[in-house]
Every structure is written in C-alpha cells, then in structure tokens.
Symmetry: C2
Subunit: 122 residues, 2 copies
DNA sequence: CAGCATCCGGGTTGATACTG
DNA sequence: CAGTATCAACCCGGATGCTG
C-alpha cells in the first residue's frame, strides 16, 4: 500500500491501517466470530461459513495465522485432523467484532430500508 | 452473492452478512470514524484519508449514503460546497467501529510482530 | 481429510482527461 | 471545488484436478 503522504491523520494513521487490513477481509469477519465459540476443522468451517470456497478458506486462515489471530493445530494423524482455534490475540479481536456484529443485527433493517429507498429514487 | 446453502449458522447468517458488507470495505472503515468527529468536504477527506483516489472516495461515499450511514449536504453554491456528515445510523455504527479501532491501536504491535515471525519461518 | 497448483473470467481500482 | 467518463491493468476468487 502506498503510504500516506503527510497530512494524513488519526484513525487513518499507519498503525491502525495495518491492523485494519485484517478486518477488511470479508471472510475474516465471519470466521473469527465462529472460532470464538469453539475450535473448528477445515470442513466444519467450510460448511458453517456459507458460500466460501476451499481456496478462500485456506487463504483466509493462513492470513489469520500470519497475523497471530489463529492457531493451526495439526494432530499429525492419518487421516489428517487439523483444528483451528483463536489465539489470545484473536479472542481479544473477536470481542471487538462482537460489538460490530451486534450493530449489524440491530440495525440491519434500517440499512436495508435505507438502501431500498435510495435505489428507488435512482 | 450465492446465498448460504442450509447448514450455515449464526454470525454467518444473512442479516449480519448484509450489514457486514458495509464494514467489509476497507475505506468505509477509515472514513466513518473520520466523519464521526466532524462533517468534512470532499477535498478534506481526500487529504485526510491517505492513499485513497478521488474515484474510490466518491464511490465509497455513495455507498455509505446508500446504506443510510452518511448524508450528503450540497450547499448549492458556486464554487460548489458539499459536506458529508454521519446520519444517526452512521454515528451508531461509528461507536461500534471505535471499539475495533481501539483494538487495532492497542494490538498493532502484537500483530506486526506475529507477522514478522511468521514470515521469517517461511 | 486437508490442501496445493493451475488456469482464467470478471470485477475492482488507478490514471488521466474532461465538465459544471 | 466536486465530480463524471473512459480505458487499461490488476488481482480476487471460483472451478478443477491432483497429492499426502
């Protein structure tokens, strides 16, 4: 990402930026809350997160792992048994996301109707 | 988006999904908190949000407006003077986002070092 | 079961130029 | 100042097929 030319401010500041990248991912937003409940395996995630492809799942999980939010636990058995669970850092994030989730649930209707009203007048 | 085949659950549920789209936008996450402080004009946003292009800015603002989060105020003057400010709905969202922002600021270092450690072992 | 490699179509983004 | 239009580049993400 091109770094902010001077004049950029506060919440748009570099530090938050980097961490916000994590949140920017549509799928991460869905996966983290799921894992907050309990560790899950690849296939379970595949099922529970509707509409995600195997590719995107692995990709997102890797990214979450990379950012220290998720821990990959390979039980080293045949057939393979791998579990994903949140790290302490991941859990702290999930607590923040819960707030957003709650907002989404509470205000979903308002957003939907705003959108319909807006689209109608176009 | 292909809708979730049965078996999908809770936070991955339709309602949250739709509202989460708003949050999914990288730029919205930066713009909303900025507007929470005070209404801003196009150019001010362009400056304060580092790295965004005019196109993306307009596009994101339209989307936020469409979702009922931002209100566009055209003062009908020459030269043009347009301000963007959060609606009540937008402000309620910003409160949720503040939590995420705070998380980002607080845990930025941890994320960064996790990433470096991860990348090193590749 | 978990996951990688590959191909590839389409949506998203940036650059540039132009309008009111 | 605020914004649109256009075009090309790029990357995302799905589908498929294969491995341990």
């Amino acid at each position: 990402m091109t770094d902010a030319p001077s004049g950029t401010v506060l919440s748009a500041t570099c530090p938050s930026r980097a961490a916000l990248e994590v949140v920017g991912s549509k799928w991460a937003l869905l996966i983290v809350p799921l894992l907050a409940r309990q560790p899950l395996r690849n296939n379970e995630l595949l099922r529970q997160v509707g509409g995600i492809s195997q590719k995107m799942l692995t990709q997102t999980l890797r990214e979450l792992e990379r950012h220290g939010l998720v821990q990959r636990i390979d039980h080293q058995t045949v057939p393979p048994h791998v579990e994903y669970q949140l790290t302490a850092l991941g859990q702290s994030l999930s607590e923040a996301l819960v707030v957003v989730d709650r907002w989404a649930e509470r205000h979903f209707a308002a957003v939907a109707s705003a959108r319909m009203a807006f689209d109608r007048r176009r």
